[in-house]
Structures are given as C-alpha cells and as structure tokens.
Symmetry: C2
Subunit: 347 residues, 2 copies
C-alpha cells in the first residue's frame, strides 16, 4: 500500500471549534479528510482518503485512531465508496475490507454495518458523526459545570476530539470550561508507556488556548501535595455496574493520590462505556501488552534486552475513589448501583 494520494492544505472549515487543530475527520464531498495522527505532535498533517485502499490504509496504519473516530471515518468511507463503485458486488467487497481494517475495533464493524443497512448511506454516516458530537457535547456541558474558575486540573492519557471525532470526553469537559471563560490550567500526565499525554492531550489542549503543563506521571503527587491541583478528570475504557472503572494504566494510582489529598476525581464517559454485563471490577480482564512498550521509549531502547517487564494496558479504579461520572445523561453520584442502574435502563 502507498501513502494517501492527497495531502490537503488545511481549510478553516475543517478545524475544531476555537482550536488551531484540524478536525479528526471531515466529509468534503469527494473524499474523507482526516488528521494523520501518526505525525502528531510534530506535524499537523491533513490527508484525504478516496479509495478503499486509502481508507483501509488510514485505519490499519493508525493514521486514524480512537475507537469512535475510526467508526465515524469508516462510515463516511463506506458512503464514499458507494458513490465511486457502481457495481454492487465490488462495492460490498470494498466495504468488507474497510470493516476488517482492524480486527478488534468494535466501533468499526458497528459503524460499517449501520451504514450498509441504510438507504441513504451518506446521511447515515452524517448521523453517526452527529450522534458522536451530541454525546460528547452533552458530556462537556454537564462536566463544565463542575469545573471552578481557574481550576487547576490533572488529566491522564488522551480523551480528546482527535480520538472521538466529536468533542472528546474528559478533554471535552476541559475545553468546554475554557470556552466558558473559566481559564483552566491543566497538568497533563505524560502517560507512560505510550505517552498519549505528551503526544496528544498536551497538543489538543494547548491548540485550544488552554494553559498546559506536562509532567511525568509520578509527579502528580508533588503537584497535589503543593495544593496546586483542584480536581482530576479522566476518561474510561469500561465501567462496571457498581462503578468500578477500567482505564489507561496509571488512572488507579492517580485516584489513590487524589483521595489521599482530598481532591475530587471525575470520570467522563458516554453511556456506551458502561457495561451492564459486568458487576464489578474483578470481572474486567486486564490486557497485558508487549514488554517493549516498557523497555523502549519513543523508539529508543532503554533497558537490557534480557529485562522482563509487567505491562498492563489498563488498571481498575474502585468506585469508592470516584467522586462522580460525567455522562451525556448528566452527572452520576454515589451510590452508583442506583445512578448507573438508571442510565443502563435507558437503552
């Protein structure tokens, strides 16, 4: 496979609101534009995908990443292919290739199937995108009310517009507070091992005019001890019925530190992250990833080849360390078995 055929000059309408950063995904009539996430934070590179090859490549090479973002991108992609490939069997084959561009992305298969079953495929893709924006906007609006003026905030990993193609979850809340004139100051945890904080969150927040301060993950404690932190806000990978929350490795340490210092910790997550089939955190499996994520750093080897490593991708934060969940249905407070139970009954 080759690179994308077009590297577009960035046009204003493709930009995130009040940010210097282009939108993660945008439909432009003849192509699906996307922000090439592989080049971040060093280069703001916008590319266009027109063919099945280009759409599949963008997903497979992680140029487009973040589960909701992949779903939106693939939805537009399939709608585009429907226009450019008149022959039905050939179109179905191309759509199937897009659907399988990454094997484990649930949003990808879900979005492709939804578009394929619609009469107006482009309208359906637009709906998927609009729904994502509505959910993120609702989370941001509810969350921003919890953010005091000039709040000093710690966040971990990346939960922004780049990953959702909407407005983001935890970062969306911070950005909404910024738009409301609250001037938040954000300590961004670098988020070892994959450094999503250094690479993505720092950039996305700063591009929107938010004051950011990058720190190694373990420095969160000294920031808290110096009374320099008013609240912590993170996203969620999966939330159990009792509120136990799986999220990027380091979230649990941050939650213990926040509790120790009497600092509230908020989890911003859409209804779709709450898993009715899981009673508590004990039942959430924790993926262990390649040790090279620990023994290497930004491509450079930092430990001996013989070194063994423990590399859990996620950890589980018990519900009693979580002050509240911020969802598109509002702010959920303890007891979570009741408040989470309520939103689980919605759908």
């Amino acid at each position: 496979m080759t690179g994308p055929s077009t590297v577009a000059t960035v046009t204003p309408r493709a930009f995130l609101p009040e940010s210097k950063l282009p939108a993660a995904v945008a439909w432009d009539g003849n192509a699906v534009r996307y922000l090439d996430q592989r080049a971040l934070p060093f280069e703001i590179r916008v590319a266009s995908a027109r063919t099945a090859d280009e759409i599949v490549e963008a997903i497979a090479t992680l140029a487009v990443r973040g589960a909701p973002c992949i779903g939106v991108f693939a939805a537009y992609g399939v709608a585009l292919l429907r226009r450019s490939i008149p022959e039905d069997a050939a179109f179905r084959a191309a759509a199937a290739r897009v659907r399988e561009a990454r094997p484990t992305a649930v949003n990808l298969a879900w979005a492709v199937d939804r578009v394929l079953s619609a009469d107006d495929m482009l309208a359906e893709a637009r709906s998927i995108h609009a729904e994502q924006e509505r959910v993120d906007a609702a989370i941001a609006a509810y969350g921003a009310e919890l953010i005091p003026e000039a709040a000093r905030i710690i966040t971990h990993c990346h939960t922004g517009a780049i990953a959702t193609a909407g407005g983001g979850t935890a970062l969306g809340v911070i950005l909404a507070a910024q738009r409301a004139g609250k001037r938040p100051v954000v300590y961004v945890n670098e988020t070892r091992p994959l450094l999503q904080g250094s690479r993505l969150s720092e950039l996305e927040l700063r591009s929107a005019g938010v004051e950011t301060i990058l720190q190694v993950d373990s420095a969160a404690a000294i920031s808290m001890a110096r009374n320099a932190v008013d609240l912590v806000i993170v996203g969620a990978d999966r939330v159990a019925r009792n509120g136990d929350t799986a999220n990027k490795i380091g979230t649990y340490a941050l939650a213990v530190l926040a509790a120790h210092h009497g600092i509230p910790l908020y989890v911003a997550a859409p209804r779709s992250s709450f898993d009715a089939s899981i009673a508590d955190g004990e039942q959430i499996p924790i993926e262990e990833r390649d040790k090279r994520e620990v023994t290497h750093f930004g491509g450079a080897r930092v430990a001996a080849d013989e070194a063994r490593a423990f590399n859990p991708a996620f950890d589980v934060t018990p519900h009693h360390l979580i002050t509240a969940f911020i969802t598109e249905y509002g702010v959920l407070r303890p007891p979570y078995s009741e408040s989470i139970g309520e939103i689980l009954r919605v759908s």
Copy 2:
C-alpha cells in the same frame, strides 16, 4: 579530551560479589579501573584511567557517577597521580583539576581533600573505599533482616553498588536478602524521567541473580492492588530531623500508594544523608530540572517543542508514610525525632 586509553578485559577480582557485573571502581596497581556507566545497560565496558585527563574525563562525562562512587574514584585517582607526577606543584595542579571535575559533587571535593592531607595517599583512598563498603554492608545486613522469604518488593530509582562503589543502599539490602537465600522478587520502577530503574537497577539486580520485573512507575498501584507486593524499599537524597525524606521524584507517590495498601515502606540511607540542619521537609529545596527531560528521551522528542513542563528532580515523603529507616547504626522506628536524634548525636 580523548577516550580512556585502555578498555580492559574484565578480570574476576574486579567483580561485585556474586554478580556478573564488574565493580564500579577498583584499584589495580597501575590504574583506576571503572565501569563505564554511560554504556549501561547495553554494554558492560570496563575502562582504566591513568592520567589526570582520563580521571577528569571519566567524572565530567558521567562515565563514573553516583556521589559516593565519584568520591572513591577520585581518591584513588589522586593517589595514582601522586605516584606518576613527582613534581609537587604539577601534582597539586592535577589534583585540583580532579577536585573540580564536577562542580556540585560534595563527595568529590571531600574525598580529594582527605587524600591530599594524608601521608600515605593510597592508604587513605583505600580507607575511604573501605568505609563506604562497611557503611553499605551494615545497612544491607540490618535491612536484610526485615525482608521476608520470597518477598515481593518494589524499588524506585537506583541505589546500588554502581552508584556507591560500596554495596549500595536500598539495592544492597535486596542483594543481601538474595545472598541469604531469601529469593526476593523485585518490581523495578522504570523511574521517569531519567529511567535509572530501567537502565541500572534492573541490570544490577538481575546480574546478581535476583528475579526482576520492570514496570512503568504508575503500574506500581496495580501490582499492590493485586496483593503482589510485600514491601517497598527506596534510598534517600536527604532526610530531615523529623524523618521527612527527599528522594527521586516518584518516591512520594509510591509512599502514598504503599500506605493506602497497608504495605511497609523502608528508606535505606547512611548517616551522612541525615541533615541535622533541617527540621522538616518544608525546608528541603526541590530542584527543578530542564523540561527536555520530560519532552525528550534518549535523543527522541516525544512532545511538541512548544510544550511547557513541570520537572521536579525530587519530592518529599512525609515521615508518617515511612515504616522505618535502615542505617549503618541499625533500624530507626518512629518517633523519628527520637531515633533520628540519637544517630545525629553519634558524629
């Protein structure tokens, strides 16, 4: 300046006891041998310094590092120069250059001055080295008694023989437990930003046959939550009279996590790290270092050039989070104002 004139084949007598790793510093009659720490953990490179240029270069380029290790190395170096430079003024000038090879290393000036004021300079250098070994050995012996059989231990940063030219402090305790047949298993925190855990502690422990598991610093929490950790042991940069302890950034987070999980945290530190002039942690200044330690690694840029960073080199762990101090005078328990007061009166 050029590189060291000799890269020696490693000889058995220069090895650390029961380790595959050469000693940090060794006198060999005609030269001062040292382990080139810049090449670790990828290459075990032993070099010899014979001239003032070579001695100064080894210190200035951080080939020899760790305050006590620099002191021992410089002591032997000055004794060697006394033999090779008969003319007194030239010798004094060469010794002065060694003394100033790094401006802020207290042990360096102290060791050079002590050797210069002795009649038998080599004997004095040997004394300095032997004293370091005795202090470290006493810490290791007292500490090993606190380590249960098959203990699962977290350690942070590097506090080993490579840094002291003795047996190390916190790592010395673990190695003594290993020699006593207790088979400890050690989770080594990588220790961002400078990765002393990945580069040095993992290697030094594994070279001595200890089972090691490297982890990102924030994964310490999940290891504790899984009941996979029996104790935490760290070194100290400086200890106040009340027991508040400055140590590598990340130590305080680890102490909060240990307390949350009911896991004991030990600080292994020689009498020389206890500062009688400092009443409590509030009075310990915290150095902030270059932001590039956070935004870069190993030459690789990991954040945008425009990113701001908070990069404290140390943090302060309050005394109530410390289970005990392990010193060459024995194990100090709370109330620390009394137990620390006792060892401060010794010298």
